[in-house]
């Protein structure tokens, strides 16, 4: 009995403030999947982490019955594939072969999750790390990114597309909402002003259990950014 239970075990190697790790936590919560959360000390990475992700040596890593899956968006898709009876993040494939509409919705979701990956984290980092004109450039870029995402959201409540309220793009993006306050403080702008519908979406998501449970407060994130700034000698 214990052995059978172990077969199904989900273990997430993670770091509390990581938006990439939070994606995985929220996804599993949305799917009603129990998992063990293990906090990694990034200054002293565990043997398990190094063995499970030898290529990048990064969190998050999901271990399912001992087999590692790395890269947050790969993990999200894995969760859909491995647990097909749980609420999907990506619109599921139809039973009839080659359902182009569902495939198109999946392609759209993948495109926007990729957009978040390519743009948001890097630009956000530049906002707190840089000063002067480079920081101003980062702010302009961040405003454009937020507006682009808002345009894609349109007048929908969520980016959606999955079986529950939160879809692939919602889960990919929502952890960064905990960083909005830090972006605002570092960049000197207001998300509410530049992208009010996106700000409303962020608040809407924040009222969902899985999100409320797994995202840190914006103030905590800002404190963490302060620690990073000190570490990198930024002020």
């Amino acid at each position: 009995m214990a052995a059978a239970k172990k077969e199904k075990e989900l273990l997430l190697l993670d770091f509390w403030v990581s938006p990439f790790g939070q994606r995985c936590r929220i996804a599993m919560a949305e799917k009603g999947l129990e998992f063990e959360y293990r906090e990694e000390d990034l200054g002293n990475k565990s043997d398990l982490l190094l063995r499970s992700n030898p290529v990048h040596r990064k969190i998050p890593v999901l271990l399912h019955a001992g087999r590692p899956v790395c890269e947050s968006l790969v993990i999200l898709q894995y969760l859909d594939d491995a647990f097909p009876d749980t609420p999907h993040l990506l619109p599921p494939a139809n039973s009839s072969s080659g359902d182009a509409d569902a495939a198109y919705a999946r392609a759209t979701a993948r495109f926007w999750a990729d957009y978040v990956d390519k743009k948001l984290y890097d630009c956000g980092s530049r906002l707190w790390r840089l000063k002067g004109e480079p920081q101003a450039a980062a702010r302009r870029e961040m405003v454009e990114i937020l507006r682009t995402l808002e345009a894609e959201l349109g007048y929908r409540e969520f980016f959606g597309g999955g079986g529950g309220r939160l879809g692939f793009v919602d889960v990919a993006l929502v952890p960064f909402t905990a960083w909005f306050y830090s972006y605002e403080r570092c960049g000197g702008f207001s998300v509410e002003e530049v992208a009010p519908r996106l700000a409303a979406w962020a608040r809407r998501c924040g009222r969902i259990d899985s999100v409320a449970k797994h995202l840190p407060s914006p103030e905590k994130v800002y404190d963490f950014v302060g620690v990073l700034k000190k570490k990198y000698g930024v002020e």
Binding site: L73, Q77, G98, A103
Partner: protein, 238 residues
């Protein structure tokens, strides 16, 4: 289903490894499509309206609907035409995750290492690019060993998702050897990749979409000259 009622159009550029991936996927699936060659200095209205966010190739337009980003395009083709040609992504969830992981790795690491070699402003930067390239290639050798399990391709007996992802870069691999003396998939250091390179080059689909090697070398040479000129201009301004 392929055929009747499916209009496929690919916006690409002949030297783009990302566009080549899309072509490979379409070819492995035996799908016919209209091809539009884009001039980056004069991008078509169709490209700009189909990919307003990035304004880049490749873009696949299926029955009028645009799909952007090469990895997204390849997965789309695989899903919409599951019974055509080869199936690119495996069925097993963990195998799919591994394939997606390596495709993401290729995009993140190989291309950025190469960029340092091409665009590095100093000799140190270029040397670092070469060093990183060899580290990445060594990792990919391990990936091929893990994924192929002794069979010819990352996908096993037949080509799969990672073969397409890396396949798009093959002409650049060859051009870089010619131009920079950078032997990346070398039989001595990366025997599996060296064998894979030969095997991929012999595939009918690959031969059908592969750009002319001479043209590619000329193109990369010109790019290198432009990068050097830009670097010299920067240095002169400093």
């Amino acid at each position: 289903m392929a055929g009747g009622g499916d209009e496929l159009k690919l916006l690409g550029m002949w030297a783009s490894p990302f566009a080549l991936r899309a072509k490979l996927a379409l070819c492995f699936k035996g799908l016919s499509y209209d091809y539009v060659e884009e001039d980056f200095k004069n991008k078509s209205d169709l490209l700009l309206s189909s990919n307003p966010v990035h304004k880049k190739v490749p873009v696949l337009i299926h029955n009028g609907k645009p799909i952007c980003e090469s990895q997204v395009i390849v997965q789309y083709i695989d899903e919409v035409f599951p019974d055509a040609g080869v199936t690119l992504l495996p069925a097993d969830p963990h195998d799919r995750a591994v394939a997606r992981f390596w495709a993401a790795y290729i995009d993140e690491k190989l291309f950025s290492a190469w960029k340092m070699v091409f665009k590095g402003k100093t000799e140190e930067e270029k040397a670092e690019g070469r060093k990183q390239t060899f580290a990445v290639v060594e990792t990919l050798e391990g990936a091929l060993r893990e994924c192929s399990k002794g069979k010819p391709f990352f996908g096993g007996d037949a080509v799969g998702y990672v073969d397409v992802a890396l396949g798009g870069f093959v002409p650049w691999v060859q051009a870089m050897e010619e131009l920079y003396g950078l032997r990346q998939f070398d039989a001595a250091t990366t025997p599996l990749l060296a064998a894979w390179l030969e095997r991929v080059g012999e595939l009918e689909a690959y031969k059908a979409v592969m750009p002319d090697a001479g043209m590619m070398i000329e193109f990369k040479k010109k790019q290198a000259q432009q990068a050097a000129a830009a670097a010299a201009a920067d240095a002169a301004e400093a």
